[in-house]
Amino acid sequence: MDFLAPTTWADALAAKAEHPDALPVAGGTDVMVEINFDHARPPALLDLTRLPVLREWARDGGRIRLGAGVTYARVIDELGATLPGLAMASRTVGSPQIRNRGTVGGNLGSASPAGDSHPALLAADTTVEVASVRGVRLLPIGEFFTGVKRSALAPDELIAAVLITPPSGPQQYCKIGTRNAMVIAVSAFGFALHPDRRGVGTGIGSAAPTPRRAPAAEEFLAGELEAAGLWDSRGALPDGLAREFGHRVRDAASPIDDVRGTAAYRLASLSVMARRAATWAWDAHRSAACGPSDEDPPVRMHP
């Protein structure tokens, strides 16, 4: 097995162009497990850990440009208030050790239907910046996932960053696991309120061949909020509306039975998570004086 260790982004792209079957590795929390279990023997590994540029995040115009090599731990510590949905998702990833190593870019690269960050990225209208020696492409996150552990990345491309607009409203993220930590999602749900454009964002995890949005549910909830004048009045979210939203999120999923859970449970849990997440987000929106607060991360954790 060849081990390619570029130290510049240009060299990395050149290496990927020359070795399109090289498997990129960043934190190694997925790739190394596959190798150690003898489930994968890629012809070459492309080590991305010597590229400081991947580990940077910055404000880029109106957006946050999050380098593909930024770890979950740093998302939690440095972007908890700025990208609350992604930070909440990051908190659910593995153990502290895994969060110190694993990266959002790596999660996208594996493109697992159970990837923890995906529902949050979907709900937040993220753009994925991919690059090759041929140039840079900006892919809407909704077009990134093409099948079970398959993505729109070309063989010579690497994930450079994700571009996320800081939210104009509250975000939520919920994940079901059969223990209270260190667990792969049985189902997961990301939610974002976009008061600036009077829209709603969703992301479903572990309940379809790919992570996916629930567009009909988004349109339904945004439309009902509009129709009832709630965007302006900031009145309470009617329980029936939240419930119906949950059902429509559920209807967007197409889960299977597997060793982690049944399809029926995945559907039922999505319905509950979507109802609760929408309610929490709406309640936060109502109580926010003007726009999102930078003070209170939405997850309550005592130090």
């Binding site: 079901i176 223990r179 209270n180 509950v272 997850v299 005592h302």
Partner: protein
Amino acid sequence: MTTSATPATAATSTRAGVAGRIGESPLRPDGTLKVTGEFAYASDLWHDQMVWGVTLRSPHPHARIVSIDLSAALAVPGVSAVLTADDVPGVNAVGLEHLDQPALATGVVRYEGEPVALVAADHPETARRAAKRIVVTYEVLPAVTDPRRALDADTPRVHDGGNLVRRMAVRRGDPSPSAPVVVALEFEVGMQDQAFLGPESGLAVPAEDGGVDLYVATQWLHVDQDQICRVLGLPPEQVRLSLAGVGGAFGGREDLSMHVHACLLALRTGKPVKMSYSREESFFGHVHRHPAWLSYEFGAERDGTLVYAKADVLLDGGAYASSTGAVVGNAGTLGLGPYRIPNVHVDARGVYTNNPPCGAMRGFGCVQAAFAYEALMDSLADAVGIDRVEIRVLNGMREGDSNITGQVIDSAAPVAELIAIVRDMPLPPDRAENPDLRDLPGGVSNTTHGEGVVRGVGYAVTYKNVGFSEGFDDHSTARVRLEITGGEPVVTVQTAAAEVGQGLITVEQQICRTELGVERVVVHPKDTTVGSGGSTSASRQTYVTGGAVKAACEAVRSSVLARAAAVLGRDDLRLEGDKIVAQDRHGSGEVLAGLAEILGTDAVEETVQWRHRPTHPIDPLTGQGDAHVQYAFSAHRAVVDVDVELGLVKVVALDTAQDVGLAINPDAVLGQIQGGSAQGMGLALMEEIVVTDGHVRNPSFTDYLIPTILDMPPMTIQVLEYADPHAPYGVRGVGEPPTISSGPAVAAAVRAATGRPLRRVPIRPEHIVGG
């Protein structure tokens, strides 16, 4: 002794000038090394000339081996040997109770993962690659995968003798009793794994005498040695075993795993051979806890007093017997719990199937039964309209009672006291207004902020036999040596009893210090140069090996005093540390001689084989008899918060009371109770090897979930010390009872919170929400 979970403390007591006697908690020698990652486990064994062994396993639950072609594997550069059943020099049969399992499959494979061939190569990756090139042609056979059909006439036979491993009947009192109140249930228990963290590993080194030295993580060196000798065709003098660092056992290392395979490869190649399973292979490399199907009925008076109990217990033994027979024995003799029941009808069966072999695991046949009888005890309480604690107080065994096999419980049986203690412990506070997510079901996965969360409380009590039962010659051997080294008295204690993490090394030291008054106690490495210590299982080592060490110390003391008497011309002597003192009636302790003067350069050494009082086989027709040597009792109270819409559970409190007779090492006792409670809770809520059509679907710690620190609450533990007059120091086995009573208490609490019957464990979210 009541305590919340507290860290171990260094020994500070200096009674009689010697710290670290029984009743104290001296630090264990392996503790710091394990926490800092420096402890050498069996998987760390290394020899400069060693090669690596790997195992080729059957992909089929049941198949005939038509042919095996090794040529492609042998052609791989770096491969030094490829072995099959044809290369076994001795008898190709192993097994703890029945020699029904080949060391390497011959003719047929009976479960997914059965070893078929071995490869040794200069690198583990080379060995794995070569193993993949072995071409085994299988003719797949119909697999017996439903144990409930194993004994049907039209079910294929897994072994020539049929599919019954053991049936046990227990009959007592009126054969057709009736009662005004009758409750019944059916219960199912999934297949739990020991989930020890150190995978099966060892190093076999060929010796010049044609024999082999094996360094291995195991629970019972001598029973391994017997089995290895048979397969290798070598006498015990040529098969020497040493205990390597054990990373947990819990019953999963009672059977052989890589032991004989590494020896076969070492003898063939003439090189040291290391084998170390991957995590995935480990799931196929050891037995699991028997899944169980239980059908129970209780009859009672209107006040709740039990009149009769009927139970039918079916255990899936999988492809080979392992210790299924003894597990059936426990499920039969102990399967109705610590209750006074005059009329009893129990049938327990263990069967062969083509599922993964099942055998020993902490709690050994009692765990499965306790889920059923404790759920039914709650049903009975509800049916007669009394409190769930009161029903247990009312029916709980007391000292002097006969249990269901007619054995009189002749030491403490504090069922009523234990269950009352846990009832009376303070309840955790109600859920906070704005709770930390980690205190809620789902944790930081953020699935509820309190919505749908309902609290429930559940109780369970149990008892468990300590030591081997039904007439087994259960003994241990200890060699104790006292000498003067560098002017100081030093004791060396040697036993072959396996330290698997429970703290036996420290216990052996504490007993020597107590008996001989000598602070420096060296524990000899565990190996087969001393007689058998028996198995590190059945909660027995502190009792049995502890008894042997105590007896050997007493023999050493007698011997020293005899020498002193000869020198001093008087026999009213006492050994106190490094001094011989007068044993006068005033206890003045006048020093008559130094130990050094008496011993000179001699060492006094005594070896003692020690037995607990005998047990007896049970009557094959009635199940009556004094089957067990000692009983240990425990009770748990679980408090859970359940998100009833999502089916997620947070165990808020898991408190317990247990009688340990005497706590030789109080901190180690707490550690056993905490760990055992976590393991029982794991079975109640998450731990299950999922087997479909004979195939294991989750052989990884990604999908076989064990509790984390965020799943396990802090515990309040009350330890009772009612000495057993028949046991050394009054000790009572500690390790298993917590694993038995914690799970049923958690399950009861979830039932209380949800109102659902939940007649299967582990309880999955979909069982709670009905999805």
